[in-house]
Symmetry: C2
Subunit: 447 residues, 2 copies
């Protein structure tokens, strides 16, 4: 057919999609409660968006994260620039976590309670899968196992007290200045003050491994394993070998321990920002291409949007606007909670986060104009005509204008970032020319 | 200072880098055995590179992966296009894994044993961290726990037999056609023939959790936990709760089970391609910005390259070319093996992969011209003047030309991909206009 896509490739894809369409057609007789859009209703909002710029230099990564609020009151902005020694796999996620922290932070502080806060993305994602999530939870578990629960709680209590003061100050400063550039992220500034914790963790070792839920099954395997156990191995050794067969052993160096505490503090700061944000009325809007909330219930492996498209076309003959409440915790019998996603020790510290993890997030699909894209909408309030009406007040030809404006206002132009980075590097070299070994650009062997 | 980087930010970064420089200076009196470059020595090579193009449509991801060999013989190329239902987090990694499989596959087949194969990246990375690595290992473990080791081995034996035939055929076809576009990746084509396995796995449930290495420590915690155990809880329940506190419970649906088998087959196909590739003489070249092979041994937290730069400048007064053997398994007493990285059950199937995991990978830093970038070089042979001389035969002003040419030859131009994708979508709609629900483009609420 062409250079990249052969006739065979095309026919294989044709077959795959045709099979999927057949699946969808099987369930088109299901009833979906697609509601017409309500009238617009006057409302005040702030839309929040974030962005990041980063540059990987020789051994160092220099980055900027920012958040911006655009709405019916005065704009506001947080900007934070920092450098870190590159840590493969984690650095990019820490940067993303800090960006989201700045977004939540700004949304929780800006305006007053008359304003609804519009966010890009999903609340479910923020609750269950923050960046560096597995590392954060492993970090919490590691601190707990290495130092004990009491010690972990001491760390958390202390850091949350600091965060309370930090937010008070930020709120005051933002009121005056509208733009804050310094000391926005607390974890980076204070990690060294928690040295007693990471010093005590040095040398602790552990493994990661998947455990079968059915421990009886594990025991059967163990009996088999015992037969093949090497001389002198106790049942404990065998359990350990079994559990650890596929995990990597890790012994914490002082740097690992410090990184673990740093990740834990960053995660706590993130959760704190989310807890504060949840005190506001929130509307999250996301592209919904890949969620399977309806189709998974109907037992097919396709995602929701093509199914909804096919369904609305069949019932109404066109791609009409409207909305469909997927989940309402007040109405739906079966709670959509997410089990075990917040470590037990943290639950009392972040009760609203925990509440939405337990009861699930109100969710709906919405199309605001004929033929437009179907978005996923989430809120911490019930999704009904009232809430949708308030959102539509800010809609124009299928777009939610304040979200667009926030996006435009926060975008870190690669050009600006590069210019300021060059200036920074000149500044550093002027201060100490030997620093240039750290701030060389790299090139790939293929360039 | 500027819009993004304030004076405070700049000074914080200045302080961080100055502290790091002090660390580096502490160890500049260490002796590094930096060798001069040898004479060039005539050699034949093939350089291999890969690329990918992808497009996320409504619920579907359509992608192309390709590999290309450029060298002293005729060029050769593999191209593979496919579609999959988007699976958050996994899809992008599967695509990357397939791209790397095509690279290894081509490197193992192209030319004959007179040719050295040049690869972009590191052999260590290929051995220890293939894409979807944790999911693959979890997949292997899950199949083993759900169906037993015997059954897992049956799956592996059968699939490796098929791969043997598959490679024989590819080799024959490549000899004739030089470019192969169809049925390059086997796992995708045959996964449905392993339905007896995934059908049997449906309903199996497990959890992921980190386990302390010191089980005695675990037992102490358990005793404490037992005191707080709820009525009727057995020691087994408590162990289970303890281990699973922070893991997410997962029960496999038939689709999960099929995905698990698919990931396992893809992983096996990748390992097979690497095992075959390791039968050739290989040289890997990578940007080395973030490795810490020297500095971690010297006990500082900086990466190697700035240290080497500072060191060479101090000793020779300029950034001279040369190379430094970081690790030679024949010479170095302390083996740099990577523990437990290949699941035990796989080790006999991929003995050369296992061999290099056990003994470590010969590695060196190299700078091919004055003031040039320092690269990380790895091989499955000893790194000495002979090997470096053969590589330098293909060097020109600091660049390894065949790698550049392979990179240029394989690059999937976004433009070409888009044009062929549009053609594919027209083809699909012509065949069945209802398929359009799957192949809509998306837009974000912020666009």
């Amino acid at each position: 057919m062409y250079r990249l896509i052969s006739k065979n490739h095309a026919d294989k894809i044709l077959k795959m999609l045709t099979d999927e369409l057949k699946e969808v057609e099987k369930i088109l007789n299901e009833k979906i409660d697609w509601k017409p859009l309500p009238e617009k209703k006057e409302s005040k909002v702030y839309a929040i968006d974030g962005s990041q710029g980063k540059s990987r230099l020789s051994g160092t990564i220099i980055y900027t994260v920012a958040s911006y609020a655009f709405g019916n009151g005065k704009n506001a902005r947080f900007v934070y620039t920092n450098a870190m020694t590159y840590n493969h796999g984690i650095s990019d996620q820490i940067i993303r976590l800090q960006m989201e922290t700045l977004e939540n932070m700004l949304g929780s502080i800006v305006g007053n309670n008359e304003y609804t806060i519009l966010m890009d993305g999903t609340l479910t994602g923020s609750l269950t899968r923050p960046p560096v999530y597995p590392e954060s939870v492993r970090g919490i578990t590691t601190v707990m196992n290495a130092l004990g629960e009491k010690c972990l709680k001491k760390l958390i209590d202390d850091f949350i007290n600091r965060l309370n003061c930090h937010y008070e100050e930020l709120e005051k400063n933002l009121e005056e200045k509208r733009e804050i550039y310094d000391s926005v992220i607390l974890a980076d500034d204070v990690v060294e003050e928690y040295s007693e914790f990471y010093n005590a963790m040095e040398g602790y070792s552990y493994r990661d491994a998947p455990i079968p839920s059915n421990l009886k099954k594990l025991k059967v395997s163990l009996e088999t394993l015992m037969e093949s156990a090497e001389k002198g191995e106790t049942i404990e050794d065998v359990i350990y070998h079994y559990l650890s067969e596929y995990g990597e052993e890790k012994t914490l160096t002082i740097e690992d321990a410090k990184n673990t505490i740093h990740v834990v503090l960053s995660y706590l700061e993130y959760l704190y920002s989310l807890e504060r944000l949840l005190q506001r009325e929130l509307i999250y809007i996301a592209k919904s291409f890949y969620s399977r909330k309806i189709t998974s219930k109907l037992g097919i492996n396709t995602v929701d949007v093509p199914f909804l498209d096919a369904y609305l076309l069949k019932i109404y003959g066109e791609e009409i606007p409207g909305y469909y409440v997927i989940y309402d915790p007040e109405r739906d019998y079966e709670k959509k909670n997410i089990s075990h996603c917040l470590p037990r020790v943290l639950r009392n510290y972040f009760p609203t986060v925990q509440e939405f993890i337990e009861k699930g997030v109100p969710s709906a699909y919405i199309r605001t104009m004929k033929g437009g894209v179907i978005y996923l909408l989430q809120s911490n309030n019930i999704i009904n005509d009232e809430l949708i009406g308030k959102l539509l007040w800010h809609e124009n030809s299928g777009y939610i204008r304040p979200l667009q404006k926030a996006h435009e206002g926060v975008k870190i132009e690669q050009q600006t970032f590069k210019i300021e980075l060059d200036a920074l590097m000149n500044y550093l070299k002027r201060k100490n020319k030997e620093l240039r070994v750290f701030i060389k650009y790299g090139r790939s062997p293929l360039e």
